[in-house]
Chain length 287, copies 3
């Protein structure tokens, strides 16, 4: 079986419980994306509950879009819980570089070695300490410009680093993957990137406790699962825009109907469609 | 007139103003559900404003999904205001059992005798002190398993207790009702359960100040109105999935288009359709 | 070129970055409206980041729907930053009059002379100190009833004052404009008014730093740009409900599908359609 098919089937079978400590703008869409894709959301982010919940969750997402002292404390607790229970966790460094306070917090928390990091080019560059970030959440740098920063972060954290853009770059020790999928309309809907961070935590959630699912004898790695999360997101956008040939559905003509069709796509996407719609380009290189 | 028809007509005629102290994930969808169904939302939840507003509102919803000290204080103020003005209020014990802090708060607030309680099976069991709750907001127990806990809560609070699931159980002193309606797709959209809590407060809002609307000489009880809120939610989901025979609309093929069609259904549903689409099973039994 | 066409083209060309300090119920829809219309949202509202960001942003929105001490402090910082950098800012006095605490805050902040104020009739009347406001966010007064209050606010602030309703009233020194557009379904979707406040900040954002775009030699004024924001919102609603004749799309039959179609309309609307769909009635009068 194709590695992507194996990953999506595992994720859906296990329906991972994803603890999201994320910004207040995208909480609803993030929860809807997880539900549509086949996972279970839990928006638990207080200092009091986050340590306990991260030990119970399959995966944890940290998204720095709402920089409150209270949620930062919750994030530290969640990371402590995740590390104790070997729960995979994802760091989404929203706004890194553009704004001082969250950049400082992110530079601290990244030293805890997240299982994966997902951001746009400007954020990855800023997180690696190599640039000055974008303006808010949109990237002002191209994905290629962040390749060096992604490699540096993969080296120092030992994790997987994903740079989202027209094509996504996924880097870990010894592997570089380009994922060609998606549609420009994703940029016109708030929270599609933030939700991808959460979906990455869902895919990684199938490895909770250290057991990696197997695909014809080969274990699925963290790197494979991060690639699959990006492929799932992108293929669903293609399904939303171009539909199925046998379907009589109208093509979305704007971001409103696209957003609904994209959630449908995340839900409907079959393993075979995911393989067909996404093009993967892989190199094994020294990082 | 059928009791359900009478209830939905009364609710829409009065357009009750519902004060929602709810979790930050579902605020938007909750407001949209109230607007679509025919009520008016007001998301007023601060300690400073909640006492005053609960005296003005037709109904009040307390949902424990965001366990902040600040909102808890707002909830205590809202209950104080609601009790002073005889405003009906609904407790939705999201996450009861799974997490210690909110469970403690819920065990306190339930002693204030909410007009109605609405939760999933795990939450109702935990609120009654009979179990250990689910994982986050999804229930790990079946509705039947919560029947005893629902009866116990109805006895101690003197209110109506509703357990949501594939079929909904509504219990109060001397009455047990099963509501068969809805569609599994409701589970794939965040906030459909939380919104039902708010809609329950809207339906109860028609009794504000103590006057119960009449249906052919028989007064509509709190129990009837809670049943109607569940029927409205469920019938709208059926309308969304199966549509009207004369309509040429496409059937939703995922949770994105379903969510939009469900809001349409809440808005469009006629009293006659509500009666036709929902099956009610009632017993009068000692609780 | 028509002044409306000129305004929408300028706004889309510049894609203004709009800093939104807004209430937690409508953050997501506000961001989606800005993206669909052609602007860039940034939900930056903390005391720590707001001063810095308001100097970087093209426009700033202050919406009082979530009355937290923390966000109020952020708003004061944002206004300080906006005034230092000559960034246009919009005040949306949600809930003015109905609730004491936010009314006090609003009476303070309005003395800082916002570039524009946008609210419903009850809020504008309360902000001008002439009445007692509505219940929550819905207006209990007609637009005409707020004309005198709008004139008074325009006089004291030197800015543009917009009163939203079935037809919108826009007032500034020496000018009174009525905008006929929109559809009643906008009232059935949460956040359409709040999003209009944000879109007003986007349109005003094209004047950042003091340079006004020209239309055939005549400069577009703040007043023109506020009118255009209202026309964009209203025309998109008409496009959503009545569609394009050549389109085979289904007409929305409720607020769920309408909300999606409205976002599509904000995205698709051409300058020519905006001029055709909206009727403008203008008088030059002493205020």
């Amino acid at each position: 079986m194709h590695v992507l098919s194996c990953a999506i089937e595992q994720m859906r079978r296990q329906a991972p419980l994803v603890q999201c400590l994320t910004n207040s703008v995208v909480m609803e869409v993030t929860a809807n994306v997880l539900l549509a894709a086949g996972a279970q959301p839990a928006m638990v982010d207080t200092p009091e509950e986050s340590f306990q919940f991260a030990q119970l969750a399959s995966g944890v997402l940290l998204n720095s879009g709402t920089p409150s002292a209270h949620q930062y404390e919750g994030m530290r607790e969640a990371v402590r819980g995740a590390r104790e229970a070997d729960t995979p966790w994802v760091l989404d460094p929203v706004g890194a570089g553009a704004l001082q306070r969250r950049t400082e917090f992110l530079h601290q928390i990244v030293t805890e070695n997240p299982t994966a990091i997902r951001g746009n080019a400007s954020e990855i560059i800023a997180l690696a300490g190599m640039g000055h970030g974008g303006r808010g959440v949109d990237s002002t740098d191209g994905v290629e410009a962040a390749a060096e920063a992604a490699r540096a972060l993969a080296r120092t954290t030992g994790g997987v680093v994903a740079v989202s853009g027209p094509k996504d770059l996924i880097v870990s020790e010894g592997r570089v993957t380009w994922v060609h999928s998606g549609h420009a309309m994703l940029q016109k809907v708030i929270g599609t990137g933030c939700s991808l961070g959460a979906l990455t935590a869902a895919y990684l959630g199938v490895t909770r406790g250290g057991s990696l699912p197997e695909d014809d004898g080969r274990e699925l790695s963290h790197h494979d699962l991060v690639v699959a999360a990006h492929a799932h997101t992108g293929a669903a956008a293609q399904l939303a825009m171009y539909g199925r040939t046998q379907s009589g559905k109208a093509v979305p003509d704007g971001p409103g109907t696209f957003a609904a069709a994209w959630l449908d796509g995340l839900f409907q996407l079959t393993p075979e469609e995911m393989v067909d719609l996404v093009s993967i380009e892989e190199t094994t290189e020294e990082i």
